[in-house]
Symmetry: C2
Subunit: 370 residues, 2 copies
């Protein structure tokens, strides 16, 4: 996969990366020079564990627009080294080895790995009976599903006891309606995770966490123990960007940009692989695709890479891949050049036919064996 | 303390910050523009969990110069979000809740907090009998002590069983002789921690960890779970800096710069507080000072802040402050303007006399009571 991802001949539909073309390089260059010129160089010096006050205030302002009821201020926001660290801190705050954590049937893989590493017992959120100490969920827009929780699912989720980790990494990137975060409804039970990785640049590693007021002191202490603070330079650069640009206009442009890409990849897949099924996403960076019949996903990926296309295998997103009846894959339209989507889909179709043929032959052999 | 640190009227001898004047702002500005112009914008995009290959190769090269026997390559280096995250990863790799960790009698406070947070049992390294699963030590230059382990102590340390976390944060900032890291001598038992925070800029948050080959895969997995990766932008900027400048010349200039400051602060303290004792440091950023008689350290700090000087109280560096017979303090010469050292020392002397007088009065009252 790594080799394939680094090979320019391969059509790369893996990884969930934002488009390089969307990085505001000229604006960041100007911002960086301003940051360097600032008195006392706060962008280069140590800072406090919670992060820079001005950036935290801007994040709180933005969150207040989407969730006025939560009444957030800068004091509620702790800057983290991206959303992943916010999730890691949330887990450290809320759960211990052996605790149960409920997740959606298709879930962000780095969160799954983290939960496994921390010795948590993963259970399926769709099993309404099972109790869990913590639920991890992406209510506004799931990765990889590209769908929001519907009203009924939100209500069921809020009715469950226990803590909720609300990962809102794609909350600003829904194509139509902006979905209000759960945070607004249950401030005291929700640890909220946000990031600029999808909307600005992931390489800055600027995310944030909002914890219930009762947990703030412990969260800060943990953050300090983990790595003292998020990068000062990156925080200053993001703060400067927000101060000098209309971020909402950027988001509107982003949604249009990624919607266009989603349509192109969806069309390419429909055309080359009409039997593949997926729901058109409500936002985000990917299609969550299901093959018409189950095959060995490793064999399919190998065949795909041999044909010159790569993507993320479905099992990485599933708590219990062995129980899955169908083979799934995440196809990202966010980073690859859209004029390569048709070629990527054709390569995937060739790989699919090859693996299907092998499947057939094996089945025939099995039948003959009997 | 926070208020005092933000108040420019206060002479600030706390915090262990590098001097802002030493941040190479013009060089970083040029480097940033080069980083932004790079094809594919690796400085803004996601990267791999271990960090950027070129930066890791440069760090390995530098370490090979100091420790040829360890035969390090880029593959051995994982970039972290500063040294603190490297220590946190080391602890996660090597120890579990309830395990014993041995530390020097005066130890870096954020490491102590981390060890306490992780439920480790702190023991004193100077207690030669006590066994520990892990030993955390700064062999080249201790913070706050400013001294290196002598030959006998190094030998004793290496003779102890168990893992060693070698924190080499100040290893490049010894005034005279550069001390070879322990890593060279026991590659398989040592987790090595390094950083550019003291020698370039802490706000970049670029540190690294070198783990024994057998632990590398698990270390990488942990790093990915914690926060995916260190900041791409910061890594690219450091890599660019190392590519375009003579870092060894920078270190030589740094040593001279901080030695000069150390001498000025030492002179100021000797002059204003001749009864205060300390060893002149072998490098680093601070003096580790002992008062001639024990006093209430909180009262002394309050008096000092009231007089307009602040510093770090000794108990923050000690595993068991209650057992300490003397009052200690860390006085940093690294960040404050040297022409304020005399005034800072005079203020500290006034605070000292005030607290000493109170001490006296209390003792008198106690005696009269009997």
């Amino acid at each position: 996969m790594r080799r394939a991802a680094g090979d320019e001949r391969v059509v790369n539909l893996a990884g969930g990366l934002p488009a390089v073309a969307q990085f505001p390089r000229a604006a960041l260059a100007k911002g960086f020079l301003r940051v360097l010129a600032a008195r006392g160089s706060p962008g280069l010096q140590y800072g406090w564990p919670e992060g820079q006050p001005s950036l935290r205030a801007r994040i709180a302002d933005r969150l207040r627009q989407r969730a006025p009821a939560a009444r957030l201020t800068a004091d509620d926001v702790i800057i983290t080294n991206g959303a992943q660290q916010a999730i890691a801190l949330a887990v450290q705050l809320l759960a211990r080895r052996g605790d149960r954590i409920a997740v959606e049937p298709a879930c962000y893989p780095a969160a799954l790995e983290l939960f496994r590493d921390r010795g948590l017992d993963l259970i399926d959120l769709s099993d309404g009976q099972a109790r869990a100490r913590v639920t991890y969920v992406m209510p506004a827009l799931g990765n990889p599903t590209g769908t929001a929780l519907d009203r009924a699912a939100r209500a069921r989720l809020l009715a469950r006891p226990g803590w909720i980790i609300e990962d809102d990494a794609y909350g600003d990137l829904t194509f139509d309606e902006v979905v209000p975060p759960l945070l607004a409804e249950r401030r005291r039970r929700i640890v909220y995770v946000g990031t600029f990785s999808k909307t600005l640049c992931p390489g800055l590693r600027v995310g944030w966490i909002v914890v219930p007021p009762a947990l703030r002191e412990r969260a800060l202490r943990l953050k300090q123990s983990e790595d003292l603070q998020a990068g000062s330079l990156a925080q200053s650069v993001v703060d400067d960007y927000l101060a000098h640009h209309d971020f909402d206009a950027r988001l509107i442009a982003h949604r249009r940009y990624y919607l266009h890409r989603a349509r192109r990849l969806a069309r390419a897949i429909h055309h080359a692989l009409p039997a593949f099924r997926f729901e058109f996403p409500h936002g985000g960076f990917c299609l969550w695709v299901e093959t018409p019949e189950p095959v060995d996903e490793v064999a399919l990926l190998h065949a795909a890479v041999a044909e010159g296309v790569c993507y993320d295998v479905g099992s990485a997103f599933q708590t219990d891949p062995a129980r899955q009846a169908l083979t799934r894959m995440r196809l990202c339209y966010s980073a690859e050049a859209p004029d390569r989507f048709d070629e990527g889909a054709r390569r995937l179709a060739r790989a699919w036919r090859r693996v299907q043929r092998q499947n057939c032959e094996q089945t025939t052999l099995l039948v003959e064996d009997r």
